[in-house]
Symmetry: C2
Subunit: 219 residues, 2 copies
């Protein structure tokens, strides 16, 4: 019950994974409870780590019984500030922006894409689900008016830092970037990156490259 004090980032980072699995269990199974052992087994995480992680925030379980799934979901939802839905802006209406604006996975997980922007005038006006692509010049006004605090960036590398600066200036406090560069943001602004190439390069280290030997090449 170390409820006070700084929680390590790495612990916070695992909570959404726990929450995701718990929701899955709530939806598809009849069990009302789970244990650190069971949850850990499903996620490839040790039971001790799960208990330790949760203990940073309170005592959510019962000896002998484990954790009530619904209750734990409720607590994690609260801890992660997901009781209210967060409006999200998507910047860039290319293939990826299109995929994000139409992504069903945001529903019921705390997020809702409320606006989409693109620089390209040919894209402005296009419908994406319930939304209409807006011009990039409307970015500041819209974000301010809608009180948007989160944004997803799916723009070309060349304009990513500039768009970031504009978003931050407009009040965005958390950014998810699909652009393959490091972004500079002021203290207090969260940034998370998703670069498929970086993820794949991390894996190829562990793979054996196909040794195209002279003998093979000559066959």
């Amino acid at each position: 019950m170390n409820v006070t004090g700084e929680i390590p980032d790495i612990v916070v980072g695992r909570l959404p994974i726990y929450l995701r699995e718990l929701n899955r269990m709530a939806r598809s199974e009849d069990n009302m409870t789970t244990s650190s052992r069971d949850l850990g087994h499903r996620l490839g995480i040790s039971s001790a780590q799960i208990r330790k992680d949760l203990s940073h925030f309170g005592e959510f379980g019962k000896q002998g019984t484990g954790y009530h799934i619904g209750y734990l979901i409720d607590q994690l939802t609260q801890i992660l500030h997901l009781k209210e839905e967060w409006g999200v802006a998507v910047v860039g209406a290319g293939y990826l922006g299109h995929a994000l604006a139409n992504y069903r996975g945001f529903q019921d997980r705390g997020f809702h894409v409320v606006c989409v922007f693109d620089k390209d005038l040919d894209k402005v006006g296009i419908k994406m689900g319930d939304l209409t692509v807006q011009g990039i010049d409307e970015l500041e006004e819209t974000i301010d008016r809608m009180n948007v605090e989160m944004a997803i960036i799916a723009v070309p590398v060349s304009v990513a830092q500039e768009i970031t600066d504009r978003l931050v200036k407009a009040g965005v406090k958390a950014l998810l970037s699909y652009v393959p560069i490091h972004l500079n943001v002021p203290e207090g602004v969260q940034v998370s990156y998703s670069d498929p190439v970086v993820q794949m390069q991390r894996m190829t280290y562990y793979l054996t490259p196909v040794a195209t030997t002279a003998a093979e090449s000559s066959t």
Copy 2:
């Protein structure tokens, strides 16, 4: 020069970030060299960490001068097994699959999408860049024939584990999943996850939720 022994995953995980920035420097700047201090400053990483990380693999720098950018790129490319291009299969031709199949960012970073599959017969035959969407029943034969060892999964949750099993059985050794569930794979198969919701939930923990008080609601 601790070239032998196990390299920590976390160290391997930073190499693609270094490589990405180095390539950017090589492309857009005139400097032939950089230092751990300079590189670290650009990436928000300490210089000591960069030197330590690189020292696991060899001595790539020169006292007083730093690192020759081209040489370091070459070495990292070799370490990460990126000298040869890896063929990649994309499974799922929805919005996201579409975005991935058309993604230009793979070029020159070691990867090449060589096939795309979808279950939906309406999608089979559709052109995506140079590729044509194939039926899911062609998965095993194509992957085997093309010697594909990496795959990106962008299918519905309901079929993700089944598709994973089929890919692994067909010889895929590394998977990048955009599906929001934990996947079970045999020992030796690499998996990397990308779930935008998990990334955003990690950030909302640090954000202050909008306190919709009674007073506010009633205005």
